[in-house]
């Protein structure tokens, strides 16, 4: 077996967390309990090591042209200091990855990609690189820590003079000094809560991690693992690559059509995605709530009237709602709110109904 990689923070928490392999990395799945960590993020704040995420810098006169060619959203709309959620697709509309693009300079972009896709994405980007542009893979030099939850701003604000309350969602400040370390602070996250993602030199990761934990202690800030990250993003219907998105699932099918612009000029996958936007995608991601006892789980088949109509992509007992719910990718003609379907759980078909998702939206 291939050796699992570890982030720069591994030693800082290895004795306090339950560790699991994830996308080639040895990562904390939980510190105290997924439920407690989940609740901390919904009601106070949580701290996540997400340094396994990949970072690629794209710079030069043709940087924008390359980003535009590779991604579905309109990168020409990104001002310096802004971030954009976007996707890379194959020519047939299947998804290479979903990512955040930060514009860090006039001709400079930072692409943040999923851990399990780093090698594939870097190959894909390099394969399509043309013109006067430099692509640099910097994942190993960059640590990423996310602080998420209603008290995230209060906690982080104690460590900087910069006014964080004026930082809008999907904007960032570069080189903010915290604990003597220059940090890119982005107002963004993957939990459905307010919060920040911090990028900085990986050598400094343990010091920043401990500083944040100490600073947030009095507010109930908890270190959180990937388990809570998954239940949080799931309730907020944020897609996870490999479940809601894949090489055979398009962004339109996954409900990410808002990040697919068909009028921005040509790019990889445009024709296939434009057709899906115009004619409707063959499948649609819907919310499911169980009527009978049982918890829907990834890849469980979904039926209606004896016909196989799709499968569950993610499911669990929602820690916030205490309901057994799931997301399922089903044939579009069956995606009708309130309709009853059946989920096959260990060989037994049990009833569920199609419900609205996201399951959770924070009060603004």
């Amino acid at each position: 077996m291939e050796q699992l990689k570890r982030t720069a923070l591994f030693d800082a928490y290895k004795d306090q967390a339950k560790l699991v392999p994830f996308g080639g990395w040895e990562m904390p799945v939980q510190f105290s309990s997924i439920k407690e960590e989940h609740e901390a993020v919904r009601t106070r704040a949580g701290l996540f090591d997400v340094s396994h995420m990949g970072e690629v810098e794209v710079s030069g006169p043709d940087a924008l042209a390359l980003v535009q060619k590779l991604t579905t959203n309109d990168a020409s709309k990104i001002a310096i200091g802004q971030a954009q959620y976007t996707l890379m697709c194959y020519p047939d509309g299947g998804t290479v990855d979903d990512l955040l693009v930060y514009r860090t300079g006039e001709q400079k972009y930072l692409l943040v990609i999923n851990a399990g896709n780093i090698d594939k994405d870097v190959d894909w980007i390099q394969q399509h690189t043309t013109g006067d542009v430099t692509v640099t893979h910097i994942s190993d030099q960059v640590a990423q820590i996310a602080i998420q939850g209603p008290l995230a701003e209060t906690i982080l604000q104690r460590l900087t003079e910069e006014d964080l309350s004026s930082l809008r969602p999907f904007t960032f400040l570069n080189d903010v000094m915290i604990g003597g370390v220059p940090i890119l602070i982005s107002r963004s996250g993957y939990t459905g809560e307010d919060g920040f993602e911090l990028y900085f030199e990986s050598k400094q990761a343990p010091a920043i991690w401990n500083l944040l934990l100490e600073t947030g202690k009095e507010d109930g800030l908890l270190p959180c693992g990937l388990g809570a990250r998954d239940t949080l993003r799931f309730e907020a219907k944020l897609p996870l690559y490999g479940q809601e998105l894949s090489a055979t699932i398009s962004p339109i099918e996954a409900g990410m059509g808002f990040a697919v612009k068909v009028d921005k000029g040509d790019y990889i996958g445009r024709d296939a995605l434009a057709l899906q936007k115009e004619q409707g995608a063959p499948r649609k991601l819907v919310g499911l709530e169980m009527i009978d006892r049982g918890i829907p789980r990834t890849h469980y088949p979904v039926y209606q009237g004896g016909e196989l109509i799709g499968e569950v992509t993610t499911g669990t007992q929602s820690p916030t709602l205490k309901l057994n719910i799931g997301l399922a990718l089903i044939k579009s003609e069956f995606a009708v709110l309130g309709e009853e379907v059946e989920v096959e759980i260990r060989g037994k078909r049990v009833r569920a109904k199609i419900v609205k998702a996201p399951f959770y939206k924070r009060a603004k």
């Binding site: 339950k18 799945v29 939980q30 309990s33 997924i34 439920k35 388990g227 998954d230 239940t231 006892r293 049982g294 918890i295 789980r297 669990t316 007992q317 820690p319 057994n324 260990r346």
Partner: protein
């Protein structure tokens, strides 16, 4: 690690407690509940169902995973812990007490001698 001496164990992390000559109570170990994390769902057989040693008789789900429960002995279910339907967290909070799962009437009481002692189980998980 909490492993009561008077119980018997299986490598699949069940504990077995002798209730009378031919009846045993079954649950999962403290080690198992701690590995699973927050338990949110327990699926158990019905009274009258037959179970067979080594075969699944139900399942237990945490927030993140589904795990099968394996029968430690051959026998017939005579009691099921219905309170786990409403309170699956009892398995986390009290795995050897309120978190019990089934009571089984044994086909053959001699089968109990094949189960692990606390020491043997401890070795199997190290």
């Amino acid at each position: 690690m909490n492993l009561p001496k008077e119980l018997r164990y299986t490598e699949e992390h069940e504990w077995v407690k002798t209730e009378s000559d031919n009846k045993v109570r079954v649950g999962i170990t403290d080690f198992a509940q701690s590995e699973l994390g927050d338990i949110v769902f327990v699926e158990l057989p019905e009274v009258g169902d037959k179970i067979e040693a080594g075969q699944p008789f139900g399942s237990v789900e945490s927030v993140k995973t589904v795990s099968e429960l394996y029968a430690p002995v051959n026998g017939t279910i005579v009691e099921v812990n219905g309170s786990l339907e409403e309170s699956p967290e009892n398995v986390n909070d009290d795995s050897y007490g309120d978190g019990w799962m089934i009571v089984v009437e044994l086909d053959d009481a001699a089968q109990l001698s094949e189960l692990l002692s606390d020491e043997q189980y401890k070795q199997s998980i190290q």
